[in-house]
């Protein structure tokens, strides 16, 4: 046995032992949590102040579910050792996606991509269509792709559209996706391609790490908890996420998604429009009592019903719509024939010679039945029915869309669909590319807002709990991430409750004395320790602060995403700026809500302290709430450093 293997084995045993202890601690923590929340619901709600008592117990329940989902995630935290040797002779395309990043930055990433050791073809996917970048790509000898003419006037779908366009213009079996600023290591493919020896693996994701972030990480850019225990946990349950960059994908899997998506969307589209047409025909029948069109309308309705039932029994869409079109043409010819024979009778009565007009000629009937002059056009519904035969997805630039376009976070939506179709994913926890984080609060806030909006979009459009094809752990892994983005509402309650207690003596619980204390404190300690154990001494405090401090961002994300999904309102989609923006003014207005909350917290501390010293405030309750307010303030304080942060200077670090 070689030394390397020995070390690997020892660390594996160590890891297995650590996981056992972690699980024991999870069980203890959840037991204490249940003990606390059960008592909260059963015996502690102060109904006389229900307007804050109920929101508070709901907020706490929300947090407890969040903790449970986190516990489930890390239960199977899976640390993979170095990957298997790369599959031989694979063809690989490296995609560098860009929209408005500086040309030099993109070319720097591209030249690093050229130096990747495993044989590959590098491409710059320029959605900005910039001549300077085209020239730069030619100089480096890398491919350059932009959207073609056929994208004119069609939805562009941002980064997802950019990738989809490139997928149809390239041919490598595997695709490494890199954001414009993500500079890859030469061994990135050697470390990741090996996993694809398993035919069902569609995705290998590696961490996203940023090298322009000081150790203090004022903007909370690094996500050690997510790119550590959380992704490892999702991986353990077979649901490692795709995070948009630094990931290798199997083309076959993406095409499988694109094609199955095309079939589903066409079926859905045709069915929806047939149903719409049917209800319009029924409406026309109700409104129109005239004898002539009634029979034609009934026959049209029957034809549509037949088409719907054929679709239901699994007949091919093209067959069904073709038959429906023929049937409608027949009906149309019938009406024309009736009209013309009535017309002949009238002419007879008028004494005209029939022979001169050849009204019963098949040619005249056929011509008068064609779709442009068909009597069935009288009912708009029928025209729609004819259009429902659209199987070419004419509203999109591409009929086949491999990357999901239902969300601005196309990565999460795509991975979920891959998993639902039975593909597997891998999280390989080794930094193999270094990127640039936003260098200022405005850009950081835009980025977080976009992630949150995209996540909520996926939740509302394709709720993971309802996705057939996903197993239950996978459903929960997706749901866990979405659930965590709803925290803004709970935070508002956590900020308001102690302020109300300290300043106005509004008591959301029956008592802050003994019973509360002995249930809450052990749970809280166990909870904090769980985070420490789970994170393996990685710095996760920044992340916790931001989860609380960005509550207005999370709330905005929820309502804008809901308005987008339900009412079609635009998200005001913004691309995260990667350039340094040296604005002199401190953007205090961006954190107005937090400043307001901070001021209220400070006032409540002063008032609470005065009551404690001079009044007859309940000491335990006051002290608990003062501690609570202090925790809120320390969390919010992260924004003071953030709002003043003016970008990364490497020299400061040394």
């Amino acid at each position: 046995m070689t030394t390397v293997e020995q070390i690997r084995q020892t660390s594996a045993t160590h890891e297995a032992r650590r996981l056992i202890w972690l699980r024991v601690w999870i069980v203890i923590t959840l037991a204490l949590a249940l003990n606390y929340i059960g008592w909260r619901w059963a015996a502690s709600i102060n109904w006389s102040a229900w307007w804050i008592a109920v929101p508070l117990v709901l907020a706490e329940t929300y947090s407890l579910i969040d903790l449970t989902l986190f516990s489930i995630t890390i239960w199977r935290s899976r640390q993979r050792s170095s990957g298997p040797p790369p599959v031989p002779d694979a063809t690989v395309d490296v995609f560098i996606t860009t929209y408005n990043e500086p040309v030099e930055l993109v070319l720097n990433t591209a030249s690093a991509a050229v130096r990747i050791r495993y044989p590959h073809q590098t491409w710059i996917l320029d959605d900005g269509d910039r001549p300077a970048l085209r020239e730069g790509a030619a100089r480096l000898g890398v491919g350059y792709l932009t959207r073609g003419e056929h994208w004119h006037g069609k939805p562009r779908h941002a980064k997802a559209g950019n990738l989809n366009n490139a997928l149809l213009n390239t041919s490598g079996e595997y695709i490494l996706v890199l954001d414009a600023d993500m500079v890859p290591e030469p061994e990135i493919l050697d470390q990741t391609l090996g996993y694809f020896a398993d035919d069902k693996v569609a995705l290998v994701q590696t961490p996203q790490h940023f090298n322009n972030v000081p150790a203090s990480d004022p903007l909370g850019s690094q996500a050690p908890l997510f790119y550590g225990p959380i992704q490892e946990g999702k991986d353990g349950w077979g649901a490692a996420f795709f995070c948009g960059s630094n990931a290798v994908l199997r083309r076959e899997a993406l095409m499988d998604l694109g094609i199955s998506g095309y079939v589903e969307s066409t079926l859905r589209n045709v069915r929806a429009r047939l149903k719409e047409a049917r209800s319009l025909v029924l409406k026309a029948l109700r409104k129109n009592k005239a004898a002539a069109p009634q029979s034609a309308l009934h026959a049209t309705r029957e034809a549509i019903d037949q088409a719907l039932s054929d679709l239901g029994s699994g007949e091919p869409v093209a067959e069904v719509t073709y038959r429906l079109n023929n049937r409608l043409r027949e009906l149309s010819a019938g009406v024309v024939g009736d009209d013309l024979s009535q017309l002949s009778a009238d002419l007879d009565a008028l004494g005209f010679d029939q022979a001169a007009f050849n009204l019963d000629s098949a040619e005249v009937i056929a011509r008068l039945s064609e779709s442009d002059v068909s009597p069935l056009n009288a009912i708009e519904a029928v025209t729609r029915t004819l259009q429902a035969a659209d199987v070419g997805r004419s509203e999109e630039a591409q009929a086949v869309l491999p990357m999901a376009t239902i969300s601005v976070t196309e990565d999460m939506a795509t991975a979920m669909r891959l998993h639902a179709r039975g593909w597997k994913s891998v999280y390989h926890n080794q930094n193999l590319a270094e990127g640039l984080a936003p260098e200022g609060l405005p850009a950081a806030l835009t980025q977080r807002l976009r992630w949150a909006q995209g996540t909520v979009q996926v939740l509302l459009r394709e709720n993971p709990l309802l996705q057939r094809g996903l197993n239950w752990p996978q459903r929960l892994m997706y749901f866990a991430t979405m659930w965590s983005y709803l925290s803004g509402f709970a935070t508002v309650v956590y900020l308001a409750a102690p302020v109300l207690f300290l300043t106005a003596h509004v008591l959301p619980v029956n008592s802050y004395a003994g019973p509360f204390f002995w249930r809450f404190i052990p749970f809280m300690i166990a909870n904090q320790l769980l985070f420490i154990f789970a994170s393996r001494r990685l710095p996760t405090w920044r992340g916790q602060q931001y989860t609380l401090a960005l509550f207005p961002v999370w709330i905005t994300a929820c309502w804008t995403a809901a308005a987008n999904v339900w009412f079609g309102r635009p998200l005001s989609f913004a691309v995260t700026p990667k350039e340094k923006t040296h604005t002199e003014a401190t953007p205090w207005t961006l954190i107005g809500w937090q400043l307001f909350a901070g001021a209220a917290l400070v006032v409540s501390i002063i008032v609470g302290a005065i009551w404690l010293i001079f009044g007859n405030a309940e000491p335990i309750g006051t002290l608990i709430n003062l501690a609570w307010v202090t925790f809120d303030l320390i969390s919010l304080s992260v924004l003071i450093g953030a709002v003043k942060y003016r970008g990364y200077q490497a020299a400061e670090e040394e």
């Binding site: 009406v335 009238d346 002419l347 008028l350 001169a356 007009f357 009204l359 011509r367 008068l368 002059v373």
Partner: protein, 111 residues
Amino acid sequence: MTGFPIEPVGSDLSVIRVEGRLNMVTAPHLRDTVAAAVKAGQSRLVLDLRETSFMDSSGLGALIGSLKATREAGGDLRIAGAGEQVLMVLQLSNMDRILKPYPNPETAFAD
């Protein structure tokens, strides 16, 4: 509302403005309007087709039906101002040889 607007121009002459589509749904409206006019003693009618955007075989049937109704009452029916699509349907069925398309309502009963 069923029926098309009708306007008397003189003692026994009226103009019916056929607006929009003259099709399976609206053709009965034209028949009703003409029948009512004939009943009221107005049997010389001009169909003003300048604002008719579309006509199908049912519309064509209504034109001939209206012609029949006016003739039986001793009057006549003329059509005026037909657009491209309406003319196409008339020509296709040779009906332009029965109903002469006049350029405008003023000239329709000039004789």
